[in-house]
């Protein structure tokens, strides 16, 4: 994998898809705060299979109610393809994130075209929100903002 990326970088100086998604998890002032589950995925604008680029959940929690139990609360992501993802997924899944801005690198192998980037967040004792941002490859700057469970979602050229 690493070799392949290096090779790609060698042939094409800057991959068309070189870009970064910044997802802001807002501060929520509540008595009992739990970090949200968050998933980010890309779909071709004209329809097609969804590709998950990040899913942050309670990776370490096991037992009778493992952290994976609540993944279907990210209900749109779950239906679009989360349920067919084998977790943990290398380079995709990770622990929940604290409030703040977090970066996700866009895959290098996206073909030029129009896509939709979706970011969904679901929080225990809280709400659920879905933010979508139009994504073009080669990457151009684009942004959208959630209202409660998600802050700014910004796509930038790497």
């Amino acid at each position: 994998m690493r070799k392949y990326l290096l090779l790609a970088a060698g042939v094409v100086a800057t991959p068309a898809a070189a870009g970064t998604v910044t997802v802001t998890i807002p501060q929520v002032k509540v008595a009992e705060y739990h970090r949200p589950y968050v998933a980010a995925w890309i779909e071709p604008a004209g329809g097609g299979a969804a590709r998950t680029i990040a899913v942050w959940y309670d990776v370490k929690k096991g037992g009778a109610e493992p952290g994976t139990k609540w993944l279907s609360d990210l209900r749109t992501w779950w239906r679009k393809g989360g349920r067919s993802l084998k977790l943990p997924a290398n380079g995709v899944s990770g622990a929940t994130r604290a409030p703040g801005a977090h970066r996700i690198t866009l895959p290098n192998d996206l073909k030029p075209g129009s896509y939709v980037l979706s970011v969904e967040a679901a929080r225990e004792n809280g709400g659920r929100e879905l933010v979508t941002v139009p994504l073009t490859v080669p990457v151009k700057r684009a942004s959208a903002t959630g209202s409660k469970e998600l802050g700014a979602v910004t796509i930038t050229v790497r």
Binding site: P66, T68, S72, R75, R79, S84
Partner: protein, 275 residues
């Protein structure tokens, strides 16, 4: 004696009309699960409006649990309360499960030596002459009046990725084969369902769709829809939530040749997610 039989028949008719006025419903706690370590808990009741526990509990002896691999699961922790029965199903295999009833019976009346008999299970303590099934009608019976009744009432649960095995039709009676997976419904996308009678598309069926929560609205927001030439009904969902979908059909093709007609009913509970 004759008086009690007449009474029993009258009671029987009351029962039949009640059964029509009071609809049976199954309300699962959820229909989408992330993994195979969880349970679904289900309310089962009968009332004039679906999902409202205010009339009678539903008998759950006939509930069948079909796992995605074709094996039969079981209901557990059954509790019959005044207005609803509660049971649990352990969803321990990945894929789409089919849970519900599939009842099929022939009932009616006949006469032997001037006495009226009824076919079917009487209620406990009910007076009159009964045989359990039409097979027990003696050869010398006259005035045989029979009706075949079949009814399905079901919902679907998917753990992980959905599978299609639960939707394989038996090609017998009134069945639903989804076009849109019933555990994939979203409020901003129409759902499509195909109805079959004996395996053939059932065109022109009247389908009723009622959302949960009617106590909190001025009307029940019932939709009356009709299946197209392919037996497909297309449903738009005004809100996210649970829905009760029902259709009935009557024809003259009973399995028992002595029965004059076949009455079929199909009910499904569907969960529609917010987009």
């Amino acid at each position: 004696m004759k008086k009690t039989i007449l009474l029993a028949i009258a009671a029987g008719f009351t029962l039949a009309s009640q059964a029509q006025a009071h609809d049976a419903w199954l309300l699962p706690s959820t229909t989408v699960l992330s993994d195979t370590t969880q349970w679904v808990t289900v309310d089962a009741g009968m009332s004039t409006g679906p999902f409202i526990s205010n009339h009678a509990a539903m008998g759950v002896d006939g509930i069948q649990v079909q796992a995605p691999d074709g094996s039969m699961g079981a209901i557990e922790n059954v509790a019959r309360t005044r207005y609803r029965t509660v049971f649990d199903v352990k969803i321990d295999k990945p894929g789409t499960w089919r849970i519900g009833t599939n009842a099929n019976s022939v009932s009616g009346t006949f006469t032997v030596d001037g006495e009226r008999w009824r076919v079917g299970r009487g209620r406990p303590g009910m007076a009159g002459n009964f045989v359990a099934t039409a097979d027990e009608i003696p050869a010398n019976a006259t005035d045989i009046e029979l009706v075949q009744t079949s009814s399905r009432n079901e919902f679907f649960v998917t753990a992980g990725e959905p599978t299609e095995s639960a939707f394989a039709p038996t090609n017998s009676g009134l069945e639903m084969v989804p076009v849109t997976l019933p555990t994939d419904l979203v409020a901003n996308e129409p759902g499509q369902f195909r109805f079959l009678i004996d395996g053939q598309p059932a065109a022109g069926l009247s389908v009723t769709v009622i959302p949960n929560g009617q106590r909190f609205h001025e009307t029940d927001h019932a939709q009356e829809l009709t299946t197209d030439a392919d037996g497909v009904v297309t449903v738009s969902w005004p809100v996210a939530g649970f829905y009760w979908l029902n259709t009935t059909a009557t024809d003259n093709k009973p399995s028992d040749a002595r029965a004059k007609e076949r009455r079929m009913s199909y009910t499904a509970t569907l969960e529609v997610a917010a987009p």
